[in-house]
């Protein structure tokens, strides 16, 4: 009888413990955002501001620390609207470098992977 009571108690305790809350503490992730020209223009450098708006929380993160054509940013995992606006150093067919204003935009990009997220945005030149 003692054993049976012990088993029942352990079973009930196990049931209660098994029902614990699933905790998702991996809140942040890293995203590498790359800008690229679809017309084959060679871009050697970018000076631009990237504005990432979390679609769900409306929190805005801005970053401008480009390395070449990419920028890396740490973000809350979620869905983002991304706006990039700035100047790109473009190399023409004659080898001369020309600075051109550009914009990129994405209405919806999921940045939810716990590890590195790669996002590539197409440039629209404004001139």
């Amino acid at each position: 009888m003692k054993q049976r009571l012990l088993y029942i108690s352990l079973l009930l305790l196990a049931l209660a413990v098994a029902a614990c809350a699933p905790i998702e503490d991996d809140l942040f992730t890293t995203a590498r955002i790359t800008v690229a020209a679809t017309d084959g223009t060679s871009i050697t450098g970018v000076q631009a501001q990237v504005k990432l708006t979390n679609v769900n929380t409306h929190q805005v993160t801005t970053v401008a620390d480009f390395n070449g054509t990419s920028v890396t940013v740490e973000l809350l995992r979620g869905a983002y609207q991304i706006d990039v606006e700035g100047v790109a150093a473009c190399v023409g067919n004659n080898g001369a470098t020309r600075h051109r204003q550009f914009r990129c935009q994405s209405d919806y990009t999921e940045i939810v992977s716990a590890h590195a997220n790669e996002v590539t945005l197409n440039i629209i030149f404004l001139d």
Binding site: L15, A16, A21, E24, H58, G78, A79
Partner: protein, 498 residues
Amino acid sequence: MKRLLCYIFVIVTIKMVSLGANVDSALVEHTTLGQLPHLESLRNPALHGLYYRTSFSALSLGLDLQRQSQAFVPEKGTGYTLPYLKVNTYHHLNEKSAVWGEASYTTGKQHAVRWNSTSDYDLLQPYVLADTVGGDTRRERYAIAGGYALRLNRWALGVEMRVRAEQEYRRRDPRMRGVVTDLTLRLGAGYELGRYRLAATFEGNIYRQTNSVAFYREESVIPEYQMTGLGTEYSRFSGDKRSLYHDGGGVAVMLHASPVDHNGFYANVTLDTHRYHRKLAEYNSMPLTDLYNELAGVTVGWERKGRYHIAAFGHFDYTRRTGNEQVGGASDARYFPVIARLTMYKSHVLDGHVGALLGKEQWHVALIAGYASRGEKYVYPHRQLDSGHVYARLQGQGFLRPSSKLQLTLEANAAHSACVSDKFVMPFANMDASTSRLMRHKYDYAKANYTTVGAKVRADYALKTSRFGLFAELGGDVTFCSMSEHQTTLQTSIGITF
């Protein structure tokens, strides 16, 4: 529901003619402060069925009132006016079995509720629908409970069911409405092993609330916020998304060990886990948030019933509330996939106290002293509100018999809670003015000190020619808050005992 209540009242009235008990001894046994060490174990229906020796029933008509000079918790308003009609009975069918039941109807008002358009705030906070206007709400509650316990040699078995149906609504914009259904089933078993009784309780609960806010006048439409804790909101689905529901429930397991004759050491262990999912009704039941309430508690005590009733006990419990936010993806025909879950809200309540009880059959005095710590955290952007209080509470109760027909029950209590630590972190630079005011208000009351004094008088008059008794009860208490505000509570009721 009203018809069911009518049936119960009729059945109880018929029972009143055939049953009856010595109201005096039954009243003392069922209302004595001496039950204090056993309140936890009485959640076990098997132990509840064994605990009382007498049958006792009451039909009461009462009024509960509360007024606060300023809302201590804005989401709960500045008080309430709640008249009620209630019948409760506990009856021994024979030496081996007992039944008990309760039915009540409560209707009234909750005053000046702000930042909350959802019913059952204590249960579902912080995941409520909220607006800055608020106002009085009307409440209507039907509650029914019934239990049965049976003793089989060394075994005791019991079952109890509790049902609550409640609606809360407002008759002017913003017209909130919350309709609650709450069902709890308890199964209990106990086994006598030597001079000890070992017992286990299993409790299951199902909960559902449909919640909406409507506006009849176009010019009075204001945003409704999907609150996510410490003044934050789920921005994407705030504003005009005003129809949602909360689905939930949970289980609890309690283990008890106590001496059969109530002389010796006793212990209770409680594990409780409940979860509540908030879903948007108008977007194919898209889950917005999940709330997990978990409690672990342990009580160890010692009791002796001799010339004096003496008890000493220690209690510790830890409650953790965890909130997960569902990250909604791109919509497709009003369907939002969930692309991630983030644990953004964390809260805890830690309570440890020791207590002592001294008394005889006609009087009891209890003293409890302890420490309670509460903490809330919103992970990102970081927000935090913590407070720690030491507290002490003194309660006294006495039964007087001025004449053979009249019995008086006198109760008095005094309590003090003093804040010993607090912490408040809030990104005020990124908060709007109304949310900043709300959070400052919450902090002010979290770090406040509270002093309560109260008293209650009950008179029971036994009718000469029958087993019925009449009673009238008046009680009240005043709580003084160090914020120079106060709260007054009044309970009054009249009724029949049998």
